[in-house]
């Protein structure tokens, strides 16, 4: 298959690859071997800081050396390209894509917003992002067996939810004679304010916590809205009544394992893929254990909102170094991974090894799926699904090894289409950035402090709300929103 060959003579390019999964480039990854063969482009590892687990640190070290390799792939590369691309550290890709990367071009033509989202404030695209596939990220999970025990229905509205949680709290659904149930829990305490959506508030606009969101073309911050206030007020009440894990702020990542395996937890909001797994792993321990997804209850306004979804474009990906002598070949190389062969390679691994073609579609081999090792880890090891690389993920790959209950849950959500549009982020120019840096972090700190204080009952949201809002004003939140807006308008306005 020679039409994928980019150059006739083998071309060697240097590369920096840094992602928590693979902190250096490995020339012996089977995926790479195949890619080399197909493209005739050979990458040579030139990663800096490959022993740190922090990609930004590695990136900064790399930049500080002043000698950039031809290709730079990294987690959170967007910040670097936004800042240093205009300074010449990275090559702008727009024209290169236009002329030499048909597959990439085709993808962006189809998804213009993603192109905008990945672009920098000067309008140039400096990196090819990793583009996840699949819609749903997190969903509500509840103990169906408990509902059954107590003779309750799956709650349909926020009020019903309140009743169900109260029943979980008071009626001893686990049947051990003690009211030790924790009705709502979360691994990340940030999933608690997520519940303000039940009162028409917002907690974030993307899969990043505490992010901005867009409403009617206007940038908004979730912790400044009326619905949020209402939600917090109610959450404080719930917390007080014991409907929420009293240790939600400190229990941390072990809470799901602990509360589920001890038969204590009733409901959570978490990733489909991982949460559904407990139905299998706890089946023996807790007879009848059934922890499955439920659709978002209707909020006070009658809407069902799934605030969280898989992000569409990641700040991870790769870029071309400013001193690269072969930009054309490089962009062609990038484009390879958007070609059907390349995309299959990066998603599924090597044909005949990890997958075979069944009905024209890649299908993981039985051996690969059942050898007891996590599929994703196995793929990382061979250089597939490498997120420091710009590529377009194929949800099919995940589907093939997803838990049946997860798929069921996603199916449930698919039916209703509860998703709301994601905020894809903005690229600010230097002036905007300065304003943002000056105010935002501190204002957010303040908001989070207040949020926790209100939920914990240390202060009252009603009483403090006005003072809170004016304090935010004083802390420059309005300026922040203003610069965000101008950046947003510039980026997505067209």
């Amino acid at each position: 298959n020679d039409d994928l060959k980019i150059v006739d003579e083998p071309l060697e390019l240097t590369v920096h690859i840094h992602h928590v999964r693979s902190t250096a480039y490995d020339e012996n990854w089977p995926v790479e071997k195949v890619a080399q063969e197909l493209t005739n482009v050979y990458l040579k590892n030139a990663t800096v800081g490959s022993n740190t687990t922090n990609s930004e640190e590695a990136m900064n070290l790399l930049l500080a050396t002043g000698k950039l390799p031809d290709i730079i792939g990294s987690a959170r590369i967007k910040e670097a390209v936004d800042q240093y691309g205009p300074q010449g550290a990275f090559l702008p890709l727009n024209e290169l894509i236009e002329e030499h990367a048909p597959h990439i071009k085709a993808f962006f033509d189809e998804n213009p917003d993603l192109m905008k989202a990945a672009s920098s404030s000067d309008g140039n695209l400096y990196y090819i992002p990793y583009l996840p596939d699949g819609k749903y990220g997190r969903g509500y999970f509840i103990r169906y067996d408990w509902l059954e025990t107590l003779g309750l229905e799956v709650p349909n509205t926020v009020d019903e939810l309140y009743e169900v949680l109260t029943a979980f709290r008071t009626q001893d659904p686990n049947g051990n004679g003690v009211q030790d149930e924790i009705p709502y829990f979360a691994r990340q305490w940030e999933e608690l304010p997520r519940l303000v959506t039940l009162w028409g508030g917002r907690s974030s606009g993307s899969d990043t916590y505490h992010d901005f969101y867009v409403e009617d073309g206007k940038i908004q911050y979730p912790y400044m809205g009326e619905g949020y206030k209402e939600g917090i007020k109610n959450l404080a009440k719930w917390y007080e009544e014991g409907l929420i894990d009293p240790e939600v702020f400190t229990r941390g990542s072990s809470s799901r394992e602990y509360l589920l395996s001890e038969n204590l937890g009733g409901m959570t909001h978490d990733w489909f893929a991982s949460t559904a797994g407990y139905n299998d792993s706890l089946a023996d321990k807790i007879p009848g254990f059934s922890f499955k997804a439920m659709i978002p209850p209707e909020n006070v306004n009658g809407d069902r909102i799934a605030e969280h979804r898989r992000i569409l474009v990641k700040p991870d990906g790769w870029a071309i170094g400013g001193t690269n002598k072969h930009p054309v070949e490089t962009i062609k190389y990038f484009d390879f991974y958007f070609s059907p062969e390349g995309r299959r390679l990066v998603n599924f691994g090597v044909e005949g090894e990890q997958y075979t073609m069944v009905d024209g579609k890649p299908q993981f081999t039985e051996e690969f799926l059942t050898n007891g090792r996590p599929v994703n880890s196995q793929l990382y090891e061979i250089g597939a699904q490498l997120q420091a690389r710009g590529y377009y993920q194929d949800y099919e790959y995940e589907k093939q090894w997803s838990n049946q209950y997860a798929l069921e849950g996603i199916e449930l959500y698919e039916q209703g289409d509860y998703l709301i549009p994601d905020f894809l982020g903005v690229a600010m120019n230097a002036d905007e950035q300065r304003v943002f840096d000056k105010y935002f972090s501190q204002a957010r700190t303040y908001m989070l402090e207040k949020q926790q204080a209100w939920i914990l009952g240390a202060a009252d949201v009603e009483e403090e709300w006005d003072a809170y809002m004016s304090q935010l004003d004083r802390m420059g939140m309005n300026d922040v929103l203003e610069v965000m807006q101008s950046a947003y308008d510039r980026q997505y306005g067209g």
């Binding site: 800081g49 070290l61 500080a64 990542s253 394992e257 395996s261 001890e262 991982s274």
Partner: protein, 293 residues
């Protein structure tokens, strides 16, 4: 006064109360170790669920099997030993003469030199300049770079210098009368007489080397050269699954918690063995009998 029999009643009570307090503190200090030991022998799920308190839950050796089966683990263990021994040795070879020189009253500019050393305890260049400096010196990604780049530490110098200053001058004078030059005074008299202090800074060097990871992470590229602590971090990163998929490890006999704990247990054992060796030198009366005060 090694014997309790000659203690007064009040002193016996005092000593006893003291012993009880120490015992309590010791128990408290022992707990973290017991905890990670228990963790390392627990099942992955129990550990991840935070059920381990004092004893292993669902006892298993899986974590150790996982750790010990990795050649990278042993390699990093070896590297840690190289850094620790090489680093400590280099450190002592530079610090001991340096501290000695700084303790000499006849050294001109003594105040200045001491200040030059002490100054660095508060003014740090920062990561990037240090990294670039190491690069310019050609010390990136080498055993030697890690060993020499962190050989000296102002605190240790000051500690040792102070001890040297407290040694009665008579010993130095006696050695000089015996014909010793500076080096001989240092190595044949001061060093043997400073065993407690040297043991202390040796321990500090060893511990710093043993625990140090940050610069190894930054300066090393070759995975074959990383020390244990960096390996530990790699392992944690590797095992902490994406939060989306963490259930994929639910059924594994080990988890990131147990493997981490197992590595920590393995890494603590050598330092556990070092300390008693150091303690030997804390014995009283090193200067005893030498001079009539």
């Amino acid at each position: 006064m090694k014997n309790m029999n000659l203690y007064s009643r009040g002193d016996k009570i005092f000593v006893f109360a003291n012993m009880v307090l120490i015992a309590l503190f010791t128990v408290a200090a022992l707990y973290p170790f017991i905890y990670i030991a228990a963790l390392s022998f627990s099942s992955g799920f129990a550990a991840a669920a935070g059920k381990v308190v004092l004893t292993p839950i669902e006892l298993t050796l899986a974590a150790y099997e996982r750790v010990m089966s990795e050649p990278a683990f042993w390699n990093s263990y070896k590297n840690t030993f190289i850094y620790t021994f090489g680093g400590t040795l280099t450190s002592l070879l530079i610090v001991i003469p340096g501290a000695y020189a700084l303790s000499r009253p006849q050294l001109w500019g003594r105040r200045f030199w001491n200040l030059l050393v002490a100054f660095t305890m508060w003014f740090h260049a920062g990561m990037i300049p240090f990294f670039l400096n190491m690069r310019d010196l050609g010390l990136l990604d080498s055993y030697f770079g890690i060993i020499i780049g962190f050989a000296v530490n102002a605190f240790n110098i000051i500690l040792l210098r102070n001890f040297f200053e407290s040694i009665p001058t008579s010993f130095e004078e006696a050695a000089r009368m015996d014909g010793a030059n500076e080096w001989q005074v240092l190595w044949k008299v001061f060093v043997p007489l400073s065993k407690p202090a040297i043991a202390t800074i040796t321990l500090f060097c060893i511990v710093a080397r043993w625990n140090g990871f940050f610069w190894a992470m930054v300066l090393l590229t070759d995975e074959g050269k990383i020390p244990l602590q960096v390996y530990l971090r790699h392992t944690i990163a590797e095992l902490s699954d994406d939060e989306e998929f963490s259930s994929t490890l639910l059924s594994a006999p080990y988890s990131v918690e147990t493997v981490t704990a197992a590595i920590i247990v393995c890494s603590i054992i050598p330092v556990l063995l070092i300390y008693p060796w150091v303690q030997k030198y804390f014995n009283k009366g090193i200067l005893l009998g030498g001079v009539k005060e």
